[in-house]
Symmetry: C2
Subunit: 535 residues, 2 copies
Amino acid sequence: MESVNEKDFSFGKPKPIDLSHHLSDISKARKPSPLKDLQRFLGNPNLIQMAGGLPSPAYFPFASLSAEGLVAESFPISPSQSPPSGSAFSWFWKLFGAPTKEKTTTLTVGKYPEQPDDLNLAVSLQYGMAKGLPQLQKFIDEFTTRVYKPAYKDPVCLVHTGNTDGWFKVVMTFCNPGEGVLAAEWTYPSAMNTTRPLGVTPVPVPIDEQGICGVGLRKILAEWDESARGMPRPRIMYTVPIGQNPTGATMEATRKKEIYEICVEFDVVIVEDDPYYFLQEGQYTHKSSRSISRTESDEEYIDNLVPSFLKFDYQGRVIRLDSFSKTVAPGCRLGWFTCNPLFAERLERQAESSTQAPCGLGQTMVTSLILNWQFNGYIRWLRALGTQYTQRRDFLLDCFSDEFHLEVEQEHKGAWKGNTVYRAYAVPRNARAMIEKTSARAPMFSFVPPTSGMFVWMQLHLNHHPAFPDETPVTLEMKLWEKVALAGVLFAPGRMFSCEDDGEASPVGSGHFRVSFSNVPVSKLYLAYVMESDH
Amino acid sequence: MESVNEKDFSFGKPKPIDLSHHLSDISKARKPSPLKDLQRFLGNPNLIQMAGGLPSPAYFPFASLSAEGLVAESFPISPSQSPPSGSAFSWFWKLFGAPTKEKTTTLTVGKYPEQPDDLNLAVSLQYGMAKGLPQLQKFIDEFTTRVYKPAYKDPVCLVHTGNTDGWFKVVMTFCNPGEGVLAAEWTYPSAMNTTRPLGVTPVPVPIDEQGICGVGLRKILAEWDESARGMPRPRIMYTVPIGQNPTGATMEATRKKEIYEICVEFDVVIVEDDPYYFLQEGQYTHKSSRSISRTESDEEYIDNLVPSFLKFDYQGRVIRLDSFSKTVAPGCRLGWFTCNPLFAERLERQAESSTQAPCGLGQTMVTSLILNWQFNGYIRWLRALGTQYTQRRDFLLDCFSDEFHLEVEQEHKGAWKGNTVYRAYAVPRNARAMIEKTSARAPMFSFVPPTSGMFVWMQLHLNHHPAFPDETPVTLEMKLWEKVALAGVLFAPGRMFSCEDDGEASPVGSGHFRVSFSNVPVSKLYLAYVMESDH
């Protein structure tokens, strides 16, 4: 009788179903790299290896690589430092409460290992398998299992060179020219720029404050008319379910289950592009009533995160894209797929004849850092990062709240349905250039306070602008955007996020700005704001 | 009247011609990444940037990156150290004459720059343009101009993530499904594995001891029968002209000019995949008559290198792929295209919606190293690297010469035409398992001593094997390969390098091994050899 290993997270889970019919013609035609066959002899330690075109590591001009890595505890989990009492700069100081002198630990990786399993440059700067470094593989396997808790047996993690390339590889591996991919009606433009030239057309799906909407998705799939649409019913859905780009929407568990079941019914593969997963910020509450302590344990923190689609994926039809871009740094160009073994094998074949393994220097230093932090340290880092973004989100929305009269809409009739839409009205002291000819009681813009990610999606009520309808919303959006930019604040104009090529998806009379609170030095924002308020 | 800048390497050179008709349908459909348009406002230093989804560099968990970089003079230019006189281990010691303790210099890159143009992690770990770091761009521009001396005005260098991905991007940017690419009949299999699944068929071109043969190329193009071939005349030629993979062939200047003119005549774009460029080793001479001093200046060294196709490219129809894989380390996953501006722009668009910029950690440390070495130091490093590979090549061929009776063929009738083909015959004391039943006066194998690269291409005369013709050459090649592998020496079996999918390109009765001398620890090889000789 077999004993049940307590740590066997796959125990009792279903096996993934056969989804091989989703592979593209290109992917089906791919063979393993012939040179990789040689690997089977490489186990012999005395082997004289004269097969591969590998340089000798003696010629790698790095004797070692090092980094001063920040300690996992660099930022506070709770925004609990008291601001200088009563100071006008209280928010400034709170947000700038990060240590002025960074506490670091020295990470060093030498050319040759001292212990057999040590990271070492002789291996990590050499040609390697497209799967990347085994130490990194081990970490992401454990991380994925413990954090995302996939619902099926033995999912596979495979490193990639960032989610943009990950998505490109998915399109090449699953889509044929002349087909479509389902995507939110407002979506990440680079992702659609990847698909269109390949002859794969984005099919917009209506969204609400949680992103892709089940009713809208089902309607599209159930009513699909191949001849009217000029393409078969889409088999692939692209989604950024947490901190959606550009709307900032977060898809909660119930919605995910609903969407997943629709995808089972219509045999759709879900591509979960989830770079903002750990920037979960919770509900926005005004600073006057904000509670700031976070006392949960790491396990509670993980359990309280909005789950990944993987958690509901009992069939293996989710391809999850994780990225170190927002948790470590974008320049790592490092992330990973989690998917069923058949899909992973095909994605690996594609990597072998294009990017191969991600950069060895990047892999080495990221792996060195997270091995130093260990699982608990990395979770600690991610929690604090979430807190940092929460403070940034709160600061921006507090500014909105100070500058405008905000009203919560219970039943919004526009693009956003739901109960957390805020409408912003001008208040007299703020009647500046952009709004001064606008009726004081007409809302200027609406937004849903994001509960994750980096973005606030402002829906501009351009039909209340005095130039409307002489100027179209598209023209007005661009004029306003340029005016704001020339005044020194750069937003992203909304129409570039339209899933459809012509950028005309806005509801009648509206436009949008995507406002990112992730990068601007808060001090700069605060000072600009204070100076404006002093006018 | 304009003054002529002595440093203007473009002065008097022709402009590239319009070759836009070579772009693939996919490439023509590509648009610039919409978010990149925002860049035009980023010049304003006081701009409050709320457009891009960029994390704050405060959250990058690396305060600095460092490396112990080898000094540029780490290896000797000339193999001039005297071996322990008369020692049986003389070659061993000469090849192991590299410094036992590596001399290094510390390279450190901090998060924020001290001077505006300093390398810094706040930039290099952030999202960036697909062109990569400006400091690296500047270096490769200068390097390309001074070393390869392109024949047309204003070629563009663009970083990529290694030549395998570079070639993938070229295929996507220039080839449509149903078309063909010209390639040497024996060629780098991963390159062909990239094209085939995309519906792009390799068209084998006959080769000789210099690689692709002008007569054979012209014949294919001039006699192209679209209906018989089932595809239009190929517009793209893939070539590894220096240290060709797998044959080790080097294409000299005269041949390159001939090939280039044929490509002009038939409007073919030349893709020059040239990772082994600096592993130029010169003619092999037996150790008894070898002269080992290299006294040329750096300028003479550069002038004496076999030129790149770029030097003859007065129309801008060459896409050159350079790689740091063999000059720094494969794990860098870093290299660059050199091509005309129109092609470069399209390749950059493709990078934007797939890999984006190469890994920032890799770019930073490679750039830091070569900025430390400077141009002259890098040339110094490359010269010494060439010497190292020359010694390795010589050692392997000396072993052949000691073990077999070698004869130089003046007029070889087989696959190799030319005057540098060696035939290897068994001599009685070496009549071991593989050859003992073979006629003592029938050649066992032939090879052209490579003048560059990492490979010796052994043509096995299997028709002299006692099991022939009962066993086919294909079966015999694999059996011999496996026997050698089980005995502890791993070669690469020849048929995997066949340009054609079925691997049946060998001349009647022959097989091949690709023998790499790049990676094996020379001490191991030497000791194995000495022990064998003592039998």
